[in-house]
């Protein structure tokens, strides 16, 4: 027997903090350098426009943010992991743009009393951003084993559904949507966390059942489908999405969950027929929702022709499009846009739903395309991590995490640009809001951890499992 004893031995417990073996991350350092210079120049542009001085705008806030990014870099160097070096700078750039935007908006959009003093939008967002960087970095350094995600997928699913139900029952209606859960002093939007849990569950389910979903056929007319019982999750997913639309009136989350689900189903099986059925279900569901619920139909009507009522129902989206138009090719410059009329911002909810429109005005088409490009880089890195992961679970998990960010960015950007009906999801890393920033930080942290291939190999396939079922395959 030349079997090496190392491989046969049981996997060791995850090391929380091993001995320090620093490993330089030059790519990340160089990219972070560019990010820092870019953000300082951006802040300078903002300061010159708003304060008419050749000095950065709120230099203190920017310094804290850049220090947090630098700290994250140093922590990763010290941890010595061979994780991805592009994600942190890319996300850091988006977060920095978010900081500049929130510093530039009227500070009284959101206020918080801390001790005796009141802090405004920019400072609150800065705090959330720093916390998000800390969360992402910590996860990226500490997580070396995925057992806790892999093994307990049904527990995670249960947690997710519990969160959903809790929001259904105890949620607070804000602006006609029941998205916010308030427990004591803490409030948040569980759907942001739910998307991560959903991806974890789907990765577990799909990787375990992948061979079955691929190999076995049920013939339904001209269609070749996996065994019908294994389509149950698809129908359940569809029903959950519809439930979110009905109860929470949250079209954005429903669309996000469903799109990510379909994409992962395709990635895992390669079966286009499943995607087609999913799309048919989607169309049927949308038609059903539109015929049953006024708020869904209203959204669609507004989407088709917002200019029909530019001062009423179509106001937000029309104003968003006007903002893009005012920006033109090069933008009006940071701080120079968003004309206030009667002391009001042109677009309500600009800091959560329409940051892209604000950036479209101030940075222009050129800036918007750059920002979309950074998102695409983040997604591409996530998918690359997925494609080169050691096993199916990690592959699907990384793919799903990348898609959660990418699809969410597409949904809200498309809403701002009237490509899709407007739905109230946040623009990842840029929109104001703690729930959104922290959930996306978890996503980035897990992707960082998954990108390190020099860690514990995934567990060997267990006897039994899918193969015991395969053996019972009728001939």
């Amino acid at each position: 027997m030349s079997v090496s004893p190392r491989a046969a031995s049981a996997p060791t417990l995850p090391r929380i903090l091993g001995p320090i073996h620093p490993r330089p991350r030059w790519t990340e350092a160089r990219l972070l350098g560019i990010v820092a210079v870019a953000l300082i120049v951006g802040s300078l542009s903002l300061g010159m426009t708003l304060a008419h001085r050749f000095a950065p705008y709120d230099a203190g806030g920017l310094a804290i943010y850049l220090a947090a990014l630098g700290g994250a870099h140093v922590a990763q160097v010290l941890a010595g992991r061979r994780s991805d070096q592009i994600l942190l700078p890319a996300v850091g750039l988006l977060g920095g743009i978010s900081l500049l935007l929130m510093q530039r908006l009227p500070q009284d959009l959101v206020t918080l009393k801390v001790g005796g003093s009141t802090i405004g939008l920019g400072d609150i967002q800065l705090a959330w951003l720093c916390l998000a960087i800390a969360v992402a970095t910590t996860l990226g350094i500490v997580v070396r084993s995925d057992t806790w995600l892999r093994r307990y997928k049904y527990t995670w699913a249960a947690v997710g559904i519990a969160l959903l139900l809790l929001t259904f029952v105890l949620g607070v209606d804000v602006g006609g949507q029941r998205l916010t859960l308030r427990i004591g002093p803490v409030s948040g939007q569980p759907s942001e966390l739910l998307k991560v849990i959903l991806v974890v569950f789907l990765a577990g389910y799909l990787s375990e059942n992948r061979p079955l979903l691929i190999e076995q056929d049920t013939r339904l007319g001209p269609l070749r489908l996996p065994p019908l019982p294994y389509l149950a999750p698809m129908v359940a997913m569809w029903a959950i999405a519809l439930g979110i639309v009905v109860v929470q009136r949250d079209l954005g989350a429903a669309l996000l969950f469903y799109a990510v689900f379909l994409a992962l189903l395709y990635a895992a099986t390669g079966r286009l027929s499943l995607v087609l059925i999913g799309l048919v279900l989607f169309v049927l569901g949308s038609a059903l929702m539109a015929s049953l619920f006024d708020h869904v139909r209203a959204r669609i009507d507004i989407w088709i022709d917002p200019f029909a009522d530019p001062l009423g129902t179509g106001y937000q989206i029309v104003q968003s499009l006007h903002a893009f138009a005012r920006g033109g090719l090069l933008g009006v410059g940071l701080g120079a846009g968003l004309p206030m009329v009667g002391g009001r911002l042109p677009i309500p909810e600009i800091h959560t739903d329409f940051p892209l429109a604000a950036l479209g005005e101030e940075l222009g088409l050129v800036g918007v395309i750059a920002i979309l490009g950074v998102y695409l880089v983040v997604v591409e890195r996530g998918l690359r991590i997925g494609a080169s992961a050691a096993d199916d679970f990690r592959s699907i998990l990384a793919t799903g995490l990348a898609l959660v960010i990418g699809v969410q960015a597409v949904i809200i950007a498309a809403g701002d640009l009237k490509v899709l009906p407007l739905t109230g999801v946040t623009l990842p890393f840029i929109s104001y809001g703690g729930s959104s920033l922290l959930a996306n930080a978890v996503v980035v942290g897990l992707l960082l951890a998954l990108s390190d291939k020099g860690v514990e190999p995934p567990p060997p396939p267990t006897a039994g499992g899918w193969r015991s079922r395969l053996r019972r395959r009728p001939r």
Binding site: A267, G270, A325, G328, G360, G373, G386
Partner: protein
């Protein structure tokens, strides 16, 4: 087996497909960004709903609006807060110039030329570079073809009746007067002190003073539509100026049977049993002759020639216009008529025919201009820091050949100056000048008074002014509209020798 085992490969390939799809989604977003930020941006940034435009309206003085003689029709004043508001020369021009209010939006030319008046207009390139300058705004003054004196006279001539008058130079299409009554005082809407009460009162007024009747009002034309029928008949070759119908004199007495429906006429016994031709039928406004002409021309050609005059779609103009129609267009017969009965009635303007006063003025002007339709225009020049940009006359199309237009010209002269025509168009003749015209009495069904119409031009041999007068429910065309037209044309020709 090979097929299935290839499907079990690691996920790289399907993830690549997902990556391609999401990249395409981002591509679509970039494309949409380009559409809104570059392609349609010039329209959006000039829209009165754009907050930058709204903000500018309060801080940047708008361009002035001048009449053809340089008389200021709209200027700016400052309120107590130092913000600008508009002051207008008087109620006579309100239906044309409109208003620009921070609270109640824009109307009229203030709306149509908002971008130029605010100084936001320009192509995408100048727009992209203007932001590098100190001020983003370069307001233009508008120079109109309108004659303020004539406009005021036209509004006075209508008095407290509801109606509209359009006067234009048939050779250039330049509008000299565009009156709609009742009118309102736009300065009261823009003056912050009186705005709220004035606007509310205007909106509640059942006479609809805010409605520009000359361009947006649609009326039954009655006999003035016969000029359109004559153009279609001659233009399509269905008739010649000497065409007569031998059944016509008898039908005068018994009525004309069309598909069992009797077309009545009978108000000109003077012509006896002589069959009428184009000139004499127009002189006495013979419904039977025009019904027969319409039937011979056919619905398709009647609608087609009306279309060449501008019917069927909003007119190309500096103000919004309603589309005039020959028929409702729902029928199966050629041209969209229900049957020949509707066609016969439409031929003398009593079918499902609805026209705007501006459209009828263009009909008269086209006859006057030897069959060539000029694009009607109000704004003749834009002046800003860069200088003055003239907007020249534009010939839309030759509707009918010049000789056929001359034949109709003669017929319209007969309708005003002929021994019998004179009886129907009393007072429309401009003293000392050959005058052409056609009156109309548009029956509305029911018991109400008919609309009173007159269209015409002068001098007939070299026309310098064309006119359409409509007075709502005022009675016979020859009694109300015709004298107004004669008086206004006389005044204009005297002032512009």
């Amino acid at each position: 087996m090979l097929a299935t085992s290839s499907r079990r490969r690691p996920l790289g390939r399907t993830i690549l497909h997902v990556a391609i799809v999401i990249s395409m989604a981002f591509g679509v977003l970039a494309g949409a960004g380009g559409y809104w930020s570059v392609v349609v941006a010039p329209d959006l940034v000039r829209s009165p709903y754009d907050p930058a435009v709204i903000a500018a309206a309060r801080t940047v003085p708008r361009g002035k609006i001048l009449d053809r003689a340089g008389l200021v029709l709209a200027r700016n004043a400052k309120d107590a807060n130092g913000e600008f508001y508009r002051v207008y020369r008087g109620p006579a021009i309100s239906q044309v110039v409109g208003y620009a209010s921070g609270t109640y939006g824009r109307a009229g030319l203030e709306r149509g030329y908002d971008a130029e008046l605010t100084g936001l207009a320009g192509d995408a390139l100048t727009g992209a570079f203007r932001k590098f300058g100190a001020s983003q705004y370069d307001p233009s003054d508008l120079v109109l073809s309108l004659d303020y004196g004539l406009q005021r006279d036209a509004v006075r001539a209508l008095g407290n009746r509801r109606g509209a008058i359009v006067m234009l130079d048939p050779t250039t299409g330049e509008v000299r007067a565009l009156a709609s009554t009742p009118t309102y005082d736009a300065s009261k809407i823009t003056d912050p002190a009186t705005a709220a009460t004035a606007f509310a009162a205007l909106q509640d007024d059942k006479d609809q003073p805010l409605l520009p009747r000359a361009t947006l009002g649609r009326y039954v034309p009655g006999s003035v539509f016969k000029i359109v029928t004559a153009m279609a008949g001659l233009g399509s070759g269905a008739i010649t100026p000497s065409t007569t119908y031998k059944e016509q004199p008898a039908a005068e007495k018994r009525g004309l049977m069309v598909k069992g429906f009797r077309v009545h006429d009978g108000h000109h016994p003077q012509t006896g049993s002589t069959p009428l031709d184009l000139v004499s039928a127009t002189e006495v406004s013979c419904n039977i002759w025009y019904a027969l002409t319409g039937l011979r021309t056919g619905g398709a050609d009647l609608v087609a020639y009306a279309g060449r005059l501008g019917f069927g779609a909003p007119l190309p103009f500096d103000l919004p216009t309603a589309a005039s129609q020959v028929t409702g267009g729902t029928g199966k017969a050629p041209g969209g008529f229900v049957d020949d009965v509707e066609l016969a009635n439409a031929s003398y303007g009593q079918g499902e025919t609805f026209v705007t006063p501006l459209q009828m003025a263009l009909v008269a002007a086209t006859v006057a201009n030897d069959g060539a339709l000029m694009r009607p225009r109000l704004v003749t020049a834009l002046r800003n820091k860069g200088g003055e940009r003239q907007i020249g006359p534009e010939r839309l199309r030759q509707v009918i050949p010049a000789d056929e237009a001359k034949a109709i010209n003669s017929a319209m002269v007969a309708a005003v100056e002929g021994p019998l025509g004179r009886l129907f168009t009393t007072g429309s003749k401009v003293p000392g000048v050959t005058t052409a015209g056609k009156s109309g009495t548009a029956e509305l069904g029911g018991t109400g008074e008919p609309h009173s119409w007159f269209i015409g031009f002068a001098p007939a041999e070299a026309p310098r002014i064309a006119i359409a007068v409509l007075v709502e429910q005022a009675g016979r065309g020859g009694e109300v509209a015709a004298p107004i037209a004669g008086q206004l044309m006389a005044g204009y020709l005297a002032a512009n020798p």
